[in-house]
């Protein structure tokens, strides 16, 4: 089995993870957990989680923060494996990532 499954099996975020929502431009790492807390996203937590997955935000995927907007450093453009996705930091906060080499 590829590395994907092993990392995803370890669901508990450990000390060296951080939220993708707070990651600066240039951040590189892997997704540890995608877990949406109920909040004011405009959709239910379960629905937002499914949409994030459909855009490729799955445990084990490589991410790199490429760009950010001018105001409030929002939204961000994230490379997820081979795809680039734009999203707001508020939604990206549901994605916990582990920096490379960490």
């Amino acid at each position: 089995m590829p590395a994907v499954a092993r990392i995803a099996g370890d669901d508990a975020p450990s000390g060296d993870t951080q939220s993708l929502g707070a990651a600066p431009v240039g951040f590189k790492g892997r997704i540890r957990v995608v877990r949406v807390r109920a909040g004011d996203h405009g959709l239910s937590a379960a629905e937002l989680e499914r949409r994030l997955i459909e855009l490729g935000f799955v445990e084990g995927a490589r991410v790199e923060v490429l760009h950010q907007g001018l105001f409030g450093r929002d939204p961000i453009a994230v490379r997820v494996n081979e795809t680039t996705v734009a999203l707001r930091r508020r939604e990206a906060a549901a994605i916990l990532v582990e920096p490379d080499g960490g």
Binding site: G42, L55, P75, E82
Partner: protein
Amino acid sequence: MSEIALPTRVALVGNPNSGKTALFNALTGSRQKVANYPGVTVERKEGVVVTPAGLTVRLIDLPGTYSLRARSLDEIVTRDMVLGKLAGEDAPRLLVCVADSTNLRLALRLVLELKRVGRPMILALNMFDIARNRGFEIDLDRLSTELGVPVVPSVAVRRGGTRDLLARIDEVNSERGLPQGLVEAEGNWSEPNAAELRAAQREADRILDAAVRMPGRPDSITRRIDSIVLHPVLGLVILMSILFLMFQAVFAWAQAPMDLIKSGFDGLGAWAGIVLPQGWLLSFVRDGVISGLGSVLVFLPQILTLFFFILLLEDFGYMARAAFLMDRIMGGAGLHGRAFIPLLSSFACAIPGIMATRVIASRRGRLATILVAPLMTCSARIPVYTLIIAAFIPARTVLGWFNLQGLVMFGLYAAGIAAALGMSWVFNRLLWRRDPSDPFMLELPDYKRPVLKNLALGLLQRGQIFLHRAGTTIFAMMVVIWFLCSAPPAPADATLPAINHSLAARIGQAMEPVLRPVGFNWQIDVALVPGMAAREVAVAALGTVYAIEGASDNSDELGRTLTAHWSLATALALLAWYVFAPQCAATLGVVRRETNSWKWTLFLFSYMLALAYLAAFVTYQTAVWLGAG
């Protein structure tokens, strides 16, 4: 199996940006038809292609989606068509899933989901040439075995690039014999939950790992362009420059064809005057039909120019970047980043703008955009603005640099944009406070070289849609307004122009007490009635009311007449009115259709009317107070 050789329906499904439409164009060429699905305004594109073995295929291009879990109107159509549940539509007998060969990860998950529907399927690896050039090694046999569906490479933009796909359609057809008649395929697919989606994506990742070797480095051209155009500050400067160039082009390039169309219709009207006897028939043909159609068709060059840029930027991949750059700015007003393109289109005409809101998934985000789109300064306002500015605003240089007339024009555009953002903010506060906004999530595709053929087909379709509308809805409106303006006929001994005796004049005179506080005389009120058909018709109507022959040909003369009859305060109030007024019945019609609600249409009409009245009132009273009355 029945032996009638009904054309086989094949549906193209795929992620957004997979080059699906380019492939559709390559397969069907110009043998395609664009219409709407019944009841919804999602574009339905169908074309015919004959395979090498002689199978006639009715190919249908479905809106792009990441999943059959539909959210927007577009995606609902895709889901229902794939499942064979779309009313009035035959279920497809074969699905062709189109994937961008350089971006297979999300596409493979969609393939796995589509497989559960249980229809015969082929995976077309589109842009296969680009993938190969960039160093992707794709093991087609392995991919096919792992997925359990036939896989073919395709290159939409090259002659012969669809040969493999067509041959494979024949093969699938002869091997299994595509199911004939009604196909029931539902039941196998149910909406996946998060765990199932995760599992499917992991399976897709595993297959990708096994069958595809990717180049070590990502597309460096896209990276390099993005480092400039997505730069927080520079990116906004570039976006504004592109918009500026676009508007320059819309006004500069479109002028000559617009003049041509106008003189063409004027000539036609003059010809009708010679051929037909004086009377109501001539009036109907010349003033109703010819001038009515002419006043709408004259905008075709501007609309096509604007859409040329929009399609070009869309094909190139820039539009998603524009949405990214504008998301926060529009988000402050409660608008979705995706509302950017609809609002941009509204500068040409609110109708295509409102129709473009279909890509916004949430009803709230879509409604907010529809409600404010008519506030953007559409090109029909320009003739009115130009007339009044030229007549009343001196061509003076102010602050050593700016032309005062140009500044006023710019101010009117800015007022429209500010009003759109402001009203959206207000609506979000008042109407949808408990209903937080839809998240902005959008794929930024790799840049692609735009293909001339796709641009041409896209423009042709925009033109057809506009002409169709002009020929039906708008035309009907024009006839109604002609009737109001010419019935009952003026008495034989009338000294005033005929319109003064018409129903429109009665409506105008009835409106006068209401509109006196904003500085409008009854002649303006009368002109507002035909202005309901199309804003710029008000110019011609003013000409008629002030009895100037050929007023629309000679706006200088009309301008001088207006200066004699109106105060500066009245002129300014009319400008303010025009920024906000809910004119143009065609826009209201399209709002009704898109929102499927009379309530929201009425709401749009009333709030804009209230704003227009308020703005004109404040402008008029302030100007009078300052001594311009």
